[in-house]
Symmetry: C2
Subunit: 453 residues, 2 copies
């Protein structure tokens, strides 16, 4: 964006106002920034400057910026601990409840209790209500700042409700219609309110076929509903249709990002969000996987060791070990990526399990056959030894088929058993496929040893 | 979602109405569905049923459902070709322009020209305007159905403009303020209109610091702006600030999905969106990569062939080939995934290139050292040969460092040269790292041959 340079220049000016205690100019220029830029500005300050800033901005004003700040746990803790506790509590209370809850979840129970005790009972109750929902459910990403009305009102009075709610509600673009028991019975968009006459009854124009999600639904399923229906917000209900909150599209964008990052991290055996970390810290995070896989790789080495006598008799066999394990590993990774994607798209649940596995074996047989024949021709010509070519080709075909099977079967099995299929990472599948490839290769080779010596 | 079963049952009933020519009941029940469900219903029909449906629904009513249908090229072509050309043209004209353009892009130039010739000049002009924007730019995902006003109006008259626009505009939640030359000068949200008095001037309450994107901006950068600012729509301008269109958040969700899929596909060397394809077709798509990598793998095999004499002298060396290439490949994949993610997050542009490469080498040295020492200890004890352990350990450390370097350098170089860094796929890096690992391994081993015989 072209604006960024202008913003950076502006930041220097605003910092100058802050340093020189030019309160009004500081407030005007800071509050004129977009909320995201306010957050960026805040994050660009030193601790000293931030403490200075707290005296010139109200907790509510800082809360608006905090709604758009995403930082790691330690930094967020630092931010809070440098505020006076009452100021911090007031700021948390002024944030959108879902964001405040995300924040408090970083802090741990004791800290959370401290800040809750400093809030009004009403404010604390709202936050407590959301705190107990399980991670990654609709409940954990919803907010309670929605607008609801009862059906026997006119458009005019609904607009009045909206006006008074516009200040606190996270979205005013949908208004949810509830009955006396707070059960969700309809929804109406602001667009509908605007195009209808002021005297129209809400019950006449509301949509009664409300799409809603349950509070315990997985957040990825909620994201899928957003993708399908192109909504800006969805209501969240309990199992008796009581309206509990809403999920807004900005939170869903974060969920979709998380989903992609988690799949992607799984495929590479690394948390790809380590971006920007110091080399030593990055190494510490990558090593557990590498060492685990090293031990798994030792199994392959041990297995090759068992066939060492074959290799010593025909060293030509050693030449093709990495070609066969490598190609099978590549095929297994392809198969894994497709399977994890399929699971993420909810495309592989239920009865189709067998069908998908069968289809992957078939794909493996076809790719294996083509690759096997290719390598047979190459080796037969290159080494002038068609039998060697046959052995390599046959081993390649079998190894690829097994790798394809493992690449789809393992993640699907994990999903069935209730584990995250992305944990079946790419390197894990590759290393496992090395083991089976070597086994296949040397077993086939041992049958034809007389041709290689 | 629990509703799905209810919807399926409903579908059967609606199909029955259609089959029995109970027009009014069919129309009522169909139009009562959410647009997404209308699309689902439409997709569940046979061709015969669809042709039947066209006679009972207006092009505009079908267009609403089509705005939410996502299907492959062939199916979309079939849908269009079974409608009368004038009906199809009217439907395309009634869709949101950005969706109609996506649709027409599937059809090719000749078909597109046919449908455009059947529309009114005005409708055709709107579509033509969007057709010429390059893929993956803000221009290619924007729509021209926005609401704009001039600044010297009151809230009351702006609300009037909104009311008349609510029917066609893709979003009415932001109103863009332009000057006489149609240059973007401000923005006001519907929320602002609602909380202000009817007689307030727009110029008094609009925000003049409008965040906008340029028509040629990459769609991933546009998505990043959405993520940062939590907007529901962003205006798109040319390089002289003229307002050309808007991008809405529902299209951005698709962009973010595409982005994730493309990175993910790159890491596995397979288009993960092949989901649901027949085994033979899937195999055809995976084979080009596998065969390419097979030839690259042949280079590694040839290289090992050069050292065959070493292996024939000390077959123990063969035992560790796959362990070293495998572990280095795993490290390279980790490094690649982090680099591609960093590039996607726009975190690696400009001067930090050298710093990031340096930091990856350092990470490689640390992980390499720890892994190398681990394998040294294991081999020294297992094989009772500390010199062999030293060779394996040293080769492992060097191979991991080089793989880490390649995993970050190659995608960043590709990005610099203007290629998509995700093309530097995981299997490619792994196969390349096999080659260097073997080279390093045998070179180190050859120095200590006397200890292994």
């Amino acid at each position: 964006m072209d604006e960024s340079q202008g913003i950076e220049l502006g930041f220097a000016q605003i910092k100058k106002y802050l340093a020189e205690n030019r309160i009004q100019e500081f407030r005007d220029s800071f509050l004129d920034l977009h909320l995201y830029e306010q957050g960026e500005f805040y994050q660009s300050l030193t601790q000293e400057e931030r403490v200075h800033l707290y005296s010139y901005l109200s907790p509510k004003e800082v809360a608006d910026a905090f709604d758009l700040i995403e930082e790691d746990k330690e930094t967020m803790k630092d931010y809070l601990s440098e505020m006076r506790p009452s100021y911090a509590a007031a700021m948390l209370a002024a944030m959108y409840t879902d964001n405040a809850v995300d924040f408090l979840n970083l802090l741990g129970k004791q800290e959370t209790a401290k800040y809750l005790s400093l809030m009004s009972n009403e404010e604390a109750a709202e936050i407590k209500e959301l705190l107990h929902y399980e991670d990654d459910t609709a409940g954990s990403i919803m907010t309670t700042e929605y607008v609801s009305i009862v059906a026997n009102q006119t458009v005019r009075s609904a607009m009045q409700v909206l006006k008074s709610a516009a200040d606190f509600a996270e979205t005013i673009y949908y208004i949810y219609v509830v009955n006396q028991e707070n059960q969700l019975v309809g929804v109406i968009s602001l667009r509908d309110l605007i195009i209808n006459d002021d005297d129209t009854l809400i019950s006449e124009i509301m949509s009664e076929r409300v799409i809603s999600v349950h509070v315990g639904d997985d957040q990825f399923d909620v994201a899928q509903t957003f993708r399908d229906y192109d909504f800006l917000a969805l209501p969240v209900t309990d199992y008796d249709d009581h309206l509990l909150g809403i999920v807004t599209v900005d939170d869903i964008i974060d969920v979709i990002d998380d989903e992609a990052t988690s799949d992607y991290s799984g495929l590479a055996g690394v948390n790809v969000d380590e971006v920007g970390e110091a080399p030593l810290k990055a190494a510490t995070k990558r090593l557990p996987w590498l060492i685990t896989l090293l031990f798994l790789g030792m199994a392959t080495a041990t297995l090759i060791g068992k066939y060492e006598v074959l290799v010593s008799e025909a060293s030509i066999l050693a030449v093709f070990i990495s070609l066969i394990t490598g190609t099978a590993g590549n095929a297994g990774t392809q198969s894994l990526a497709v399977a994890v994607r399929r699971l993420a798209m909810n495309d592989a649940k239920g009865s189709s399990f067998i069908r998908i596995i069968f289809s992957e074996i078939l794909t493996g047989l076809v790719t294996g056959a083509v690759t096997g024949i290719t390598i047979f021709v190459i080796v037969a010509i290159w080494k002038g030894n068609p039998i060697l070519g046959l052995v390599i080709g046959a081993a390649m075909m079998a190894a690829i088929t097994v790798a394809n099977l493992a690449g789809s079967f393992i993640p699907m099995l994990m999903d069935r058993l209730g584990f995250d299929p992305a944990v079946a990472s790419g390197p894990f599948i590759t290393t496992l496929s090395d083991l089976t490839s070597v086994l296949i290769y040397f077993n086939i080779a041992s049958m034809f040893m007389s041709y290689f010596k």
